[in-house]
């Protein structure tokens, strides 16, 4: 599916997906995050969307699953603090992992909220401009920028806390 078709066929479903997410999650902010995450997931598989008879139904399923993941995550909210706590001095495996900078950054990124993870990857790894991400998620440049900024700052803080804490 071309990006034009994605914008024409998937993006108009945004409001409907938002209502579904709000019902499942109960919070407007979480629902907004879930919709953006789902749209980004769909964007990644946009080339296969044309093989579905009803891309709208697929969008609904993806959004439902994203919401379910969020509900599960709420129960096991894995934060950087917990990661530091888990990184007990007695665990040689974890100590070794901390020495591997790339693995450490990877772990910190995994502690970010899923939407922030997706945005930071699209921007810093896949090379999308903020405006492009805003267009795909049907949101404002400012909203993407805020999430991106939070994600980047959290990675930096997490890294410094772990590295300095284990010195």
């Amino acid at each position: 599916m071309s990006s034009e078709r994605f914008k024409k066929e998937i993006l108009p479903l945004r409001q409907q997906l938002f209502h579904l997410s709000r019902k499942m999650l109960g919070s407007e902010q979480d629902a907004e995050d879930a919709v953006q995450e789902s749209l980004l997931k769909l964007w990644r598989v946009r080339d296969t969307l044309k093989s579905y008879d009803n891309p709208g139904a697929l969008a609904t399923t993806v959004t439902k699953n994203t919401c379910l993941d969020k509900i599960r995550l709420r129960k096991q909210n894995y934060t950087i603090d917990e990661y530091i706590k888990i990184g007990d001095k007695d665990d040689p495996q974890l100590q070794l992992e901390r020495k591997d900078t790339n693995k450490l950054i990877e772990m910190i990124i995994q502690t970010l909220p899923p939407l922030q993870q997706q945005i930071i990857r699209m921007k810093d790894v896949e090379g999308y401009e903020t405006e492009e991400i805003a267009e795909i998620t049907g949101t404002t440049v400012e909203a993407v920028r805020t999430n991106l900024s939070r994600a980047r700052k959290r990675v930096r803080e997490g890294y410094l806390r772990i590295v300095r804490g284990s010195e």
Partner: protein
Amino acid sequence: MKILKRNIISLQEAEKLIEKYYEGETTVAEEHLLRKYLSGKNVPAQFEAEKAIFGYFAGEKEKQNVRITPNTLKWVVSIASAAAAVVLFLGIFLNTQYSTTSYAYVDGKKVTDKNEIRALAQITLENIAGTDEVENGLKNIESGQTIEGQLNVFKELEF
């Protein structure tokens, strides 16, 4: 922007860009400059975290290699279509070649003329039909001679 043309940045410019980076305001081109700066030698210790973060992203970028944009995809599809067309053409071409060069070996000699092959095949078939080998074989089976003959082999064995 001036620094984008220069492709090399100073410490002060790096500081400014890093600040912009954390605000989520850098462009992809500016991030490229930062990546270059931070992967260089003698990066000040104050950029320890940035060096690690940009190093990680550089590795991830390498893993993912080329971002498949719709244009890249179109290009890949065109090449694949062209390759498929060539394969199809060769398939038809070779197939045609085979069908026009049917041949048979008669007494070790290659014969390509269809009429000649047909005539020779006819003669061979008549030769087979002329013998009563097949007919005799069938009679033996009907009368049970073949089966009995084979069972006789086991007669001498004691079980």
